[in-house]
């Protein structure tokens, strides 16, 4: 492999890792920080993709700002959806066994999948890349690199910084982390943990939807797309260490690198390398790479 190709592969690994972080960011918040096992995370990602498919034609009329407006609209809708979902299905589960959350969110997966089938049908759809982000950057004489992917990577970094800043550096983040660790104590201190958790859950859903909307133009929109991202998101959060945003970020990049170079150098074992990575990490550091911030 020559230098040029190697560098491009590094770029591929970086870009994929950042995309993974973006897709896993919602789960990082809900599962990593709040400790809620949300199997429906993949479904929210799918909802985001289908939302992009549904909203894109309307917002495409407005060039430039139309795309950003669509993302904002999607996030707004997702916040409302997440708020309602937490109130209806999750709020009473905090006092119960975690396995009840597992079963509940599993039920939600089935419901979302079927609603999607009823509302949007079973065909494969595409979402057009907005004009100002279409086009490619030439990487030497080797190949082109789509501008849109660089854009997504940029958004990922922003999300990572924002998430870290809020969770690790603000009072709000501190309250959430404290609430996840010990609900009764935090309530006794006068903080409305219920609303706090509801807001955080909604934010997690919104992040998943945002990721779905952003990824839709590159990954296309089709039944079952949520299932495929679910496991890899859990892997990323766990490798990084539950409760650590930095950890999830590092883990995403690590998984991106293993996946990318695995496909090139070990195609026979490419499917299993990520899991071997996770097993090795957990056997070396049984609680993930980073401790909770």
């Amino acid at each position: 492999m020559d230098v040029a190709t190697f560098l491009v592969q590094c770029l591929n690994a970086l870009q994929y890792g950042l995309l993974l972080f973006l897709v896993a960011s919602g789960l990082t918040l809900i599962f990593g920080v709040m400790g809620v096992i949300n199997l429906a995370h993949g479904s929210f990602y799918m909802v985001g993709a289908y939302m992009a498919y549904a909203l894109a034609p309307a917002f495409a009329q407005v060039p430039g700002i139309g795309f950003v407006a669509m993302l904002a609209a999607g996030v707004g809708l997702a916040l409302m959806l997440g708020w309602a979902l937490e109130w209806a299905f999750v709020s009473f589960l905090y006092d119960r066994d975690h396995l009840q959350q597992v079963l509940m969110t599993y039920g939600l997966i089935l419901v979302f999948e079927e609603l999607r089938s009823l509302v949007a049908g079973n065909d494969v759809h595409g979402v057009a890349i907005p004009g100002w982000l279409a086009g490619s950057v030439r990487l030497g004489s080797l190949m082109d690199y789509p501008v849109y992917r660089l854009f997504i990577s940029g958004v990922c970094v922003l999300v990572a910084l924002g998430l870290y800043a809020v969770i690790a550096r603000t009072r709000l983040g501190m309250m959430v982390r404290a609430g996840a660790a010990n609900r009764e104590m935090v309530t006794a201190l006068g903080i409305d943990v219920k609303r706090l958790f509801r807001a955080m859950f909604a934010a997690g859903v919104a992040l998943a939807v945002l990721a779905g909307m952003l990824a839709a133009p590159v990954s296309s929109v089709y039944p079952g797309m949520g299932n495929q991202v679910l496991i890899i998101c859990f892997v990323v959060v766990v490798i990084g260490g539950i409760g650590s945003i930095r950890g999830a970020f590092a883990a995403a990049l690590l998984v991106g690198a293993v996946d990318t170079f695995g496909k090139v150098f070990f195609p026979q074992a490419a499917g299993v390398l990520v899991y071997v990575l996770m097993a090795l990490v957990l056997l070396w550091r049984p609680e993930g790479l980073f401790r909770a911030a």
Partner: protein, 329 residues
């Protein structure tokens, strides 16, 4: 608390009811209930780990799949194997994988344990899916149904539905009985102690690692037995048997049935299968039956909302089982 005598009567009645199915029902009933019984054995294997030891394993499908694949791969190409060595060999293969998986995973706790077990089962899945040894993604056929003959004397024909039904029923009763005795023994009490408070056990000088590993191996062996019975019945195995969906489904079964009791696992296995059948029924839902996932999903959500302890009211452990403040340390 129910009198032990009453409980024994209920269990006996259940076994009798199951024994009568081939007489009361048609070919399909025999088929379907055989499958539910195999699922019950599978569910029991997971209940041992989750309910009795407190280890939420998300890789149970690996043991099931190893048992099934061992049955198919060890059967010679030209003749039927004797079930008397093929069965134990398949179960042994699953137990071996469980020993390997367990010895490495038990070092982790809570959610991390779940993910490590998932990782190991994914390794098994990819070996089955991607290596030529295991026949590839379309699966492989069982060449011959194993024979149950001893010294030339044919005891029972495992390829016939009715005799096989009773073989599986016997296996279920034996598995249930074995676990019931095991859990009442000193070993079982040690497991209960580990579930309740492992640190206290360790502080009292008890070495918990060998007990957890032993439980893992027994659980793997039982799951392998279920896989073996599945392979003999279906005659075809596929890598999807080791997929995380299967691990997830069996976990859903025992949560639905109620964690903490053996009969909860069996009830959960039956209930989950029947629930799917209910919503798939064209007789009840007509054309909408193709959207049966919606019904099952809603039913599950309702169950969680209204029955916090599953269908049989199994106990739930106090506080959170995974990722709580204590576990994170």
């Amino acid at each position: 608390m129910r009198a032990p005598g009453a409980r024994a009567i209920v269990l006996a009645a259940a076994v009798v009811a199951l024994a009568l199915v081939p007489f009361a029902g048609g070919k399909f009933a025999v088929d379907f209930v055989t499958k539910m019984m195999v699922s019950s054995i599978f569910a029991l294997s997971l209940e041992l780990l989750v309910g009795q030891v407190g280890l939420a394993c998300f890789g149970q499908a690996a043991f099931f799949g190893v048992g099934a694949y061992a049955c198919v791969l060890l059967t010679p190409k030209d003749a039927a194997a004797s079930v008397w060595w093929l069965g134990p060999a398949s179960v042994g293969a699953a137990a071996l994988y469980a020993a390997v998986m367990g010895s490495l995973s038990i070092r982790t706790r809570g959610v991390y344990f779940i993910m490590v077990t998932l990782a190991f089962s994914q390794v098994a899945y990819y070996v089955a899916h991607d290596t030529p040894m295991a026949g590839g993604s379309d699966g492989i056929y069982l060449g011959f149904v194993p024979s149950a003959a001893i010294a030339g004397l044919a005891l029972v024909d495992l390829s016939k539905a009715r005799p096989y039904y009773y073989v599986v029923l016997a296996a279920l009763v034996l598995a249930f009985g074995f676990l019931a005795v095991l859990l009442r023994s000193r070993f079982g009490r040690a497991l209960a102690g580990i579930r309740a408070n492992e640190q206290r056990m360790r502080a009292a000088g008890f070495s918990t690692y060998p007990y957890k590993l032993a439980a893992f191996v027994i659980s793997g062996a039982l799951a392998g037995l279920a896989g073996f019975l599945f392979a003999v019945k279906d005659g075809v195995v596929n890598p999807e048997l080791m997929g995380w969906h299967v691990s997830g489904t069996v976990l859903m079964m025992i949560i639905l049935g109620g964690i903490g009791s053996l009969h909860g696992a069996v009830v959960g296995a039956f209930a989950f299968s029947l629930l799917e059948e209910l919503f798939k029924s064209e007789a009840l839902f007509g054309g909408f039956a193709t959207h049966w996932h919606l019904g099952v999903g809603l039913a599950i959500i309702l169950c969680v909302a209204l029955l916090p302890r599953g269908l049989t009211g199994g106990w739930t452990r106090e506080g959170k089982s995974l990722g709580s403040a204590d576990e994170r340390r």
